[in-house]
């Protein structure tokens, strides 16, 4: 048990005891020792909560389950969520898109040195330039010193892909999507994907066939990447969720990089940022 575990548990207990929230979403270990999401509703269960470098899931996506009133005249539930710096940008996105209200959410922010999947550091962690969340209600800091790298480009891993020709890129993605099974784990894990009925599943209009073949899979991923333009926060939850280990974040973060280059805009800086591609800002200028 680390000092961060202790502080997370204390904070969760306090929020629940004081009735500030009805649920704390965090991480716990299952009977095999693997990390999974925890939904703590009773103060005494807060002792399940942990934090470690294995906590690679983005918990913000679970806020979508708790953003509506459960029934007639019932208030929208109040939720606390344990957030890493990458996750919390997604929270800002959801505030900006008016999916969740600031007063219903308590953010238990963590300083983070990076997380891993199966012992390997996640790709966005390698290049992450922020180790402290941009927004939080409570900040729980690691007792180990965390370096904030200042000279790493957060999109450095995309350089190789950018050097390829269009044909080479098509060949790469065709090969990667070959093993895609169109399970939608990437979409379901993404905090920015919350459409009630996804374009890929719409019956009428029928945008794409139900087939689980190459053209449909390519369409789904490219479509999803475009729908996340200006909205993707680079949390890499999609890649972490993929059962076939497809490097999905390359596609989504490439578009995020284009947005940064073109508009000097990075999603999720503040809760008040108007969504870039949906709001007209007369002052915005294309960077030349």
């Amino acid at each position: 048990m680390t000092s961060m575990d202790v502080q997370i548990r204390k904070t969760a207990k306090k929020y629940l005891d004081e009735g500030k929230v009805s649920c704390v979403i965090g991480y716990e270990r299952d009977s095999r020792g693997r990390v999974r999401p925890a939904f703590i509703e009773k103060p005494e269960d807060a002792d399940h909560l942990i934090w470690s470098s294995e906590c690679s899931l983005n918990l913000v996506t679970y806020l979508h389950q708790r953003k509506l009133s459960p029934g007639k005249d019932q208030p929208v539930p109040k939720t606390a969520v344990v957030v890493r710096p990458c996750d919390v940008r997604a929270v800002n996105l959801l505030f900006a898109e008016e999916q969740i209200k600031r007063e219903n959410i308590k953010l238990i922010g963590l300083t983070c040195a990076g997380t891993e999947i199966n012992g390997q550091q996640r790709i966005n962690c390698k290049f992450c330039q922020e180790r402290v969340p941009v927004i939080y209600d409570v900040l729980i800091e690691s007792d180990q010193p965390i370096e904030i790298p200042t000279d790493k480009d957060i999109y450095a891993d995309l350089e190789e892909m950018e050097s390829w020709t269009a044909e080479e890129r098509l060949a790469f993605w065709t090969k990667e999507f070959d093993r895609c099974i169109r399970c939608y784990a990437c979409r379901q894990a993404c905090p920015g994907c919350y459409c009630f009925e996804c374009v890929a599943e719409q019956v009428d209009p029928h945008w794409t066939s139900i087939a689980l073949d190459k053209p449909e899979k390519m369409f789904f991923h490219v479509m999803r990447a475009y729908h996340l333009a200006g909205r993707c926060v680079g949390c890499d939850a999609c890649e972490a969720a993929c059962p076939m280990d497809i490097p999905l974040s390359k596609l989504n973060r490439k578009i995020a990089k284009e947005i940064l280059d073109m508009f000097d805009y990075r999603t999720g800086d503040t809760p008040e940022d108007a969504p870039l591609l949906t709001c007209f800002n007369p002052d915005e200028r294309l960077r030349t």
Binding site: D30, S31, R32, R34, V35, R36, P37, F39, L57, T61, Y62, Q65, K175, E176, D178, R179, I181, R182, C183, Y184, A185, R187, Q188, A189, E197, E201, H206, S209, I210, A211, L212, D213, A240, A241, P243, M244, D245
Partner: protein, 338 residues
């Protein structure tokens, strides 16, 4: 017992390849899947479990079941008969999943013509497991690492090569020209995982249908389709007439069936928009009940063979073995009157 050396096995496979399609575990971008092979050297036999099950060969991810031409008259055409294939290197758990498929698609009228065609033209050569692997639990659901259910031939790796059990007429047919050595040793016992929970009976599951447990369990479920798509026994599908060509006076369609699953949010939505399983709790509960209660009640076999793929793949950390253990605990509690 009959024994084949590795060399003889390779020669046999190379020979089979001359006359029939062989699908075996191959590496595809770091994942192990069953694909058509051109050469014996492509086969990977040193594995615990493949990432996708071989059910894709009997129940393809996407399959046309009818071709339709709508012109002055409507013309219908059935898809061509699938070519005979040998599925090589099938683990006993994956072979047992055929019991579940057969119970639905063959034994219960009406027969599914596509599945029946695939089943008839497929010969399964199994590879038994020397031990149960990390997330395995085949023994908890009526299976075993060396089970012969659903297989036409079973190979067991031994020091000299492979012990061969020819189990069916189909198995005899493809091994007719093989000359085996006879050895007087018995097959090694696979190493089992001890202390697995015991699966509760269908009526015990039914008694827990309204338990709060399902609500708590489903909190972390993302309603994706990953668990069902890697599962060797999941067999639900969507059907849609997809337009393939349109000219003045003529429209061509193919009636496609594609994998789908009860865990997806829109799976059970019907015309008019009503969704009987509109919450994650209802959908996830259905997944487990289908496997351990509804399916065995309606068709006989369980809807789970204990392969453990869903445990490894679930992005939300939901563990089917943990569910079985919890249901066992809750059932015990009910019995004691707690």
């Amino acid at each position: 017992m009959k024994v084949l050396t590795q060399k003889k096995l390779n020669a046999w496979l190379a020979n089979l390849l001359q006359t029939t399609v062989v699908a075996a575990p191959v590496e595809a971008q770091g994942k192990l899947v069953y694909r058509k092979i051109d050469e014996v050297s492509q086969i990977v036999l040193d594995f615990e479990r493949t990432d996708m099950s071989p059910k894709t060969w009997l129940f393809p991810m996407t399959e046309p079941i009818l071709f339709i031409e709508q012109g002055v008259e409507t013309k219908l055409k059935e898809p061509p008969k699938p070519e005979p294939i040998v599925l090589f290197g099938v683990r006993p758990c994956d072979a047992r999943s055929l019991l579940a498929f057969d119970a639905l698609f063959l034994d219960k009228a009406p027969e599914d013509p596509q599945y029946a065609r695939h089943r008839e033209s497929t010969t399964l050569v199994g590879l038994s497991c020397p031990q149960m692997w990390e997330s395995c639990f085949c023994t908890a659901v009526g299976g075993a690492p060396n089970s012969t259910d659903g297989l036409d031939i079973l190979l067991t790796q031994i020091e000299e090569g492979y012990a061969v059990e020819v189990l069916t007429e189909k198995g005899k047919k493809i091994s007719a020209n093989l000359v085996f050595e006879e050895k007087k040793t018995s097959l090694p016992d696979p190493k089992l995982i001890q202390g697995l929970p015991s699966l509760s009976k269908t009526d015990e599951w039914m008694a827990l249908f309204n338990d709060l447990y399902w609500e708590q369990l489903s909190n972390s479920c993302l309603s994706c389709r990953a668990c069902s798509f890697v599962c060797p026994t999941c067999r639900c599908f969507d059907v849609r007439d997809e337009l393939t060509a349109i000219k003045p006076g003529l429209k061509k369609f193919e009636r496609l069936r594609a994998w789908d699953t009860c865990t997806a949010s829109g799976y059970r939505r019907i015309a008019g928009g009503h969704n009987p399983r509109d919450s994650q709790k209802k959908r996830l509960r259905n997944r487990f009940f289908c496997k351990f209660m509804f399916y065995p009640d309606d068709f006989g076999p369980l809807g789970c063979v204990g392969c453990g793929r869903c445990i490894d793949v679930c992005p939300a950390g939901i563990d089917i073995l943990e569910v079985i253990a919890n249901v066992e605990k809750m059932t015990e509690r009910e019995k004691v009157g707690g």
